[in-house]
Amino acid sequence: MIVMKNISKIYSRGDKKVEALRSANLTVNQGEIFGIVGYSGAGKSTLLRCINMLERPTTGIVKIRDMEMTSLNDTQLQQARRKIGMIFQHFNLLSSSTVFMNVAAPLRLTNTPKKEIEKKVSELLNLVGLSEQASAYPSQLSGGQKQRVGIARSLANEPEILLCDEATSALDPETTDSILELLMAINRQLNLTIVLVTHEMNVIKKICDRVAVMEKGLIIEQGHVIDLFTRPQTPTAKKFISTIIDTQLPDKILEIVKNQSIPGLLARVGFVGDVGAAPLLANLSSQFHIQPNILYGNIIEVKNTICGSLIVNFIGQHDKILKVIRHLEKYGLQAEILLDVKQSEVITEKSFVERISV
C-alpha cells in the first residue's frame, strides 16, 4: 500500500544541515495499522509528512498503491490527498471556524450536500464526544478537545489512509480508548490503512499490527508488535517496551531478595500467547519441589495475544532449578537467569543491576 524507499530529508538551519531522515525504508500493507515510535526528534513526524508530500523528501521514492507520490502534478496530488486523512501533532485547526465547521471542512472541499455534511459531522462529533462543543471556537476548547476536533476532521471524508501524528497524546485514557476503538472499527469495516506516530506504548499495544522504531532519522527496528514486545532488539525498543512491561527490578525487591537466606535463583521468565504460563509455574512446586515466587512483572494483552514478563525467585537447589528452567523452555517460555541469590553479595551493586535489567 505505502512504500517508502531510501527517504532522506535534510533541513537547513542557518548554515547547519539537519538530517531529519537518513535513508528510511518502510512498507505498510493495505488494511494494516502501523505504528512508528522513537525518541523525540527522531524524525517520526517528518517521515509521516513525507507520505502525503507535505514534506518533499530530499531523496527517495514514496509510492502509494502504485502511484509515485513524488512525481505527481498538483491536481493529481490533490486527488491523492483527498483519500488520505491526517491528524496533526499541533492540531492545525481553523481558529476562525467553529468546531462544526472545522470538521465539515474536508466535506465542503468536495462540495458534499449540506444535509449530508450535517449528518456526517454530527455523527463524528458524537463519536469523539464533542456534540456539545459544536458551536465553540478552538480557542475555547481544552487541549484534548482540540485534538478530538482534529481527529474528527481527519475522518470526515472517509479516507483510505489515515496518518496520525500523536493523535491521542493529549487525551485521557478513557477518551484514548474510545478513539482507538473507533479507529479499529473503521480499520476493520472499511479496510482503512493507518500509520500512527506515537510515544505511548499503550496505543501501540492496543491497536497496532506492526511497528517501526526510529532513531536519529533511521528505522532501526521493524516488525510485528508481539515480536517487538517480547523480543525487542534495540535498547530504544526495550526502553519503550519497559513503559508497559516493567522488568527493571525495583531496589525494594532487590533488598528482600538479598536478605533471603534460602538458596535460589532469580530469573526473568517471559511468555507469549496461550502457553498457559501460569499453571506451568504453579505446578512446579508439586512437580519439582521448587517454589517459584513471582516478585515483579506484568502480564498484558497485546492485540489479542497474552504476553508476560515476570521476575521469578525460584527457591531451591540450583541443579533442580536449572531442570525447571529447561522444563519451562520446553513449553515455549523464555527464561533468563539473573542472579544467584546465595552469591548475591559477591556481585557488585552496579553489575548486578545491569545484569538484571533487560
Partner: protein, 225 residues
C-alpha cells in the same frame, strides 16, 4: 455658544455640505468596492507567489511588486494624469466624480494590496498545511483558509484603506469632482473660511470615526484567537 455656531454653520451651508458629502460618498463607495477587489487580488498574488508559498513564481511576484511600488511612488495628481487615457476609456470622462473614481482606484488598490499582503502573511502556516493535506485546491486554500483566517486583520486593513481613500478624495478636486475634502480646501483653506473648513473636517471626522468603529467592531468580533 460653540453649539449655536455649529448649528448656524450647518444650516447656512447645508446644501453645500450635502452636495459635497454626496460626492465624497459616491467616490469613496465606488472606488472602494473596485479597489478592494483589485487590492485583495493583488495582495493574494503577492503572498502566494512568494518563495516557498502556494504558487511560488518569482517572475509574477517581481512584476507585481514593481508595479505596485511604481503606482505607490506617484504623487496622486501625477498618477491621475498618468492614467488619464485609461480613465477616459473606462469612465468615459476624466472630470467630475466619474473621472475621479478610476484614479482613486489606482491610488487605493496598490495600498490595499500591501495591507492584504501583510495580513495574509500572518496566517498560521500549519493550518494551510492541514488543508493541503486534505487535498484542497489552491483556490480553496486561499478562500477558505487564508482569507478566512486573516479576516480580522483584513477588515482592519480595509478600514485603514477606506480612511486613506476618504483622505485621497480631497485631492479629487483637481479634476472638479468636489467632495467634502475639496470643499474644505476651497472654502476653508484657500478662501480662509475656518467655519466651512472645520465644518467639513467635522463631517469627515464623523465618517472616519464611523468607519473605524465598524472596522474595530467587526474585526474584534471575528477574532477568535
Amino acid at each position: 455658544m460653540l453649539e449655536t455656531l455649529f448649528i448656524k454653520n450647518f444650516t447656512e451651508n447645508g446644501e453645500l455640505y450635502l452636495e459635497s458629502l454626496a460626492a465624497t460618498l459616491q467616490m469613496v463607495v465606488s472606488a472602494l468596492i473596485i479597489a478592494a477587489i483589485l487590492g485583495f487580488l493583488i495582495g493574494v498574488l503577492l503572498v502566494i507567489t512568494r518563495e516557498g508559498h502556494l504558487s511560488e513564481n518569482a517572475k509574477v511576484f517581481q512584476f507585481l511588486n514593481v508595479v505596485v511600488n511604481a503606482m505607490r511612488s506617484m504623487p496622486f495628481i501625477i498618477l491621475m494624469v498618468a492614467i488619464m487615457p485609461l480613465t477616459k476609456v473606462m469612465a468615459g470622462t476624466t472630470i467630475g466624480v466619474q473621472g475621479a473614481i478610476v484614479p482613486l482606484v489606482a491610488f487605493s488598490a496598490p495600498f490595499i494590496a500591501r495591507l492584504t499582503e501583510s495580513a495574509l502573511l500572518e496566517v498560521d502556516p500549519g493550518v494551510i498545511e492541514a488543508f493541503k493535506a486534505m487535498g484542497a485546491s489552491r483556490r480553496q486554500i486561499i478562500l477558505s483558509v487564508m482569507l478566512k483566517e486573516a479576516l480580522p486583520g483584513l477588515i482592519l486593513a480595509l478600514t485603514v484603506a477606506t480612511i486613506g481613500l476618504v483622505g485621497a478624495t480631497a485631492m479629487a478636486g483637481v479634476v472638479g469632482a468636489g467632495g467634502l475634502g475639496d470643499l474644505a480646501l476651497r472654502y476653508g483653506y484657500q478662501r480662509w473660511n475656518p467655519e466651512v473648513m472645520f465644518g467639513c473636517v467635522f463631517i469627515i471626522w464623523g465618517m472616519v470615526q464611523g468607519i473605524q468603529s465598524i472596522g474595530n467592531y467587526l474585526s474584534k468580533s471575528l477574532r477568535r484567537k
